[in-house]
Symmetry: C2
Subunit: 336 residues, 2 copies
DNA sequence: TTGTAAGCGTTATCAC
DNA sequence: GTGATAACGCTTACAA
């Protein structure tokens, strides 16, 4: 089937293509009747303007690209839903790409979106490898907003969570409940959010004059497997904490599972606190105490910052928005 | 920043744009040295071909669009990952859209993707409202593959799961474990997969000569809330089954939660079986028996069918692929 | 108010 | 082997 173009309409009505074009863009003078006639036959012929051609000439698309590292955990989907809500309202369509935890794929995704002439980009970085490329994009004028996993050198607006503060609170909560030998399952070491969560943990212990030994910070990761491995190792070394604060929920849940299988009671023998309120937290046994991030609001904020940047390309300064969270206290961390 | 185009390269090297263009498409005759020279300066000037222009003239994009109803549950993300794996291998980039459970948004998403000249579309329908529009697209020659939630009238290849069969097995499993008064929490009534799951349930009971009364089929839905509501209602009517087979995991888990809160022991008082093996199934208390769909394989199959269709637009017949699953038996359905 | 023509960045069809 | 030139579908000065 051949696509209907303005040419077809022009020919049919014996008009020039510019007149037809004008009928669809009401910023020009055109006689009312001509316009109506054109719109009518357009409908009749089932004409759809070709946005590719439009993009080529206008150099913009009203599409926004989103790049996330994965979307198996529900964190990123929830953020995306928030962003989409605002963007859709403002007439932007959202194109999502996920990198399946591959940093090459991340770059490839960004390229595809740029190739499709998105008007702006929302990225949660997986690491620092592609930063130089992103820097180029920014310098070339592409509006980008970063969130969650960012890089200090990138001069973009950012929406982040106060990982340090909430990590501090979460740890303090365990201390208040009477736990003394708390271990931290740390996230991937190359992410600044991992560092901040670790730092919050350390400082909370410091504040309460609890001395930490090196083994209390266990390198783990963000997947359930990472939590399991960490727990297995601790058990093998017979190095058993009386509470664990993990850098995210899946790690906490993985570790919890292993300890349970080895006969430890939770929270009696070991208490648990996670981070980021995954959908699982409420449903595991026992329910997991977790720091909740305002996912939807994060998404909305990102979208607002991006639109602001797109609409005022000249006078904007890359502000960093730090959002607040809350600690959902559940049975896994109840007092000794 | 101005974009570098083949014109710039041509000017710099005193060549014609056609020669430059040829250097990037090796199907034409061009002297080796000229080609190398061009490629070199292209790199030097940081030239990137403009895919929009390419699309305009070639009428294809090497992009594939995916449309899903939601991606909070991990079913769709897993399928997408499988599809992306194959598509990426074949040089296609994937653009994902999610409709946030809105059927208008579904249509809008499809439109955006079509506007971006995707070479093919992968859709899980939310209902029948947009079918007519999709039919038009198919007739106009756009390759589409449907999965999961389909429509019988759409003449596309389909990848589906044998909902009837596995529903039958799941129900039979409960019967074998000694449960007699089994209730079914049914999915959204407009989806054929809901119907098939219900039918499997009914026929399994029939086979074992267990009579069903109407109240044993409870209209619910696919969200956790739906399961909760259904459970509340049963409790209010004091109509307590000795086992529940839900049309999906979230519904099962929601109901389970309510019954537990009312003091029922699981599986002693009420056994549970879910459907679709959500990430939660393994972690709820007690672990939930669930039918597992081969999510990644579904994704891969979709991708293969789509590529096949794109590459042989003429001789393809819309086949329907029915994939197999397995029943993960866990504590929630152990013998009475 | 409408038409002509140039141009967005490519590829493709001719000549030479 | 290379260079003009038209074309993809649209917008937009400028001319009429």
């Amino acid at each position: 089937m051949k696509h209907i173009t303005i040419k077809d309409i022009a020919k049919k009505l014996n008009l020039s293509i510019s007149t037809v074009s004008r009928a669809f863009n009401d910023k020009y003078d055109i006689r009312k009747e001509t316009k109506e006639l054109i719109l009518e036959t357009a409908k009749e012929l089932n004409y759809h303007p070709n946005p590719i051609a439009k993009k080529l000439i206008q150099q913009r698309s009203f599409n926004i690209g989103i790049v996330v590292p994965e979307f198996i955990n529900d964190f990123f989907p929830k953020v995306i839903i928030g962003a989409q809500e605002i963007l859709f309202e403002k007439g932007y369509q959202v194109l999502i790409t996920q990198a399946n935890q591959s940093i090459q794929m991340e770059k490839s995704n960004v390229k595809t979106l740029v190739d499709n002439m998105v008007d702006g980009l929302i990225i949660s970085l997986m690491g620092d490898d592609n930063v130089e490329y992103y820097q180029e994009l920014i310098e070339s004028g592409l509006p980008i907003v970063c969130f969650n996993r960012t890089n200090e050198n990138l001069k973009t607006p950012k929406v982040i969570f106060d990982d340090y503060k909430w990590s501090f609170f979460a740890t303090e909560h365990l201390i208040h409940e009477g736990y003394k030998r708390i271990y931290h399952l740390a996230g991937p070491s190359n992410l600044s959010l991992s560092k901040n969560r670790k730092l919050g943990f350390i400082d909370a212990n410091k504040k309460h004059k609890i001395e930490l030994t090196e083994n209390q910070i266990v390198p783990a990761g963000f997947m359930m497997e990472d939590g399991k491995n960490a727990a297995e190792e601790l058990i093998a070394k017979n190095d058993i904490p009386d509470a664990i604060f993990a850098a995210n929920d899946p790690a906490a849940i993985g570790a919890m599972k292993v300890f349970k299988e080895h006969g430890y009671k939770i929270p009696e023998d070991i208490a648990f606190v996670g981070f980021s309120e995954s959908g699982l937290a409420l449903h595991v046994d026992p329910p997991l105490t977790s720091v909740e991030q305002p996912t939807t609001e994060i998404g909305r904020s990102i979208a607002r910052l991006l639109i602001q940047q797109i609409e005022n390309p000249n006078d904007f300064k890359p502000q960093t928005l730090i959002l607040n969270g809350k600690l959902n206290i559940r049975q896994s961390s109840k007092a000794k």
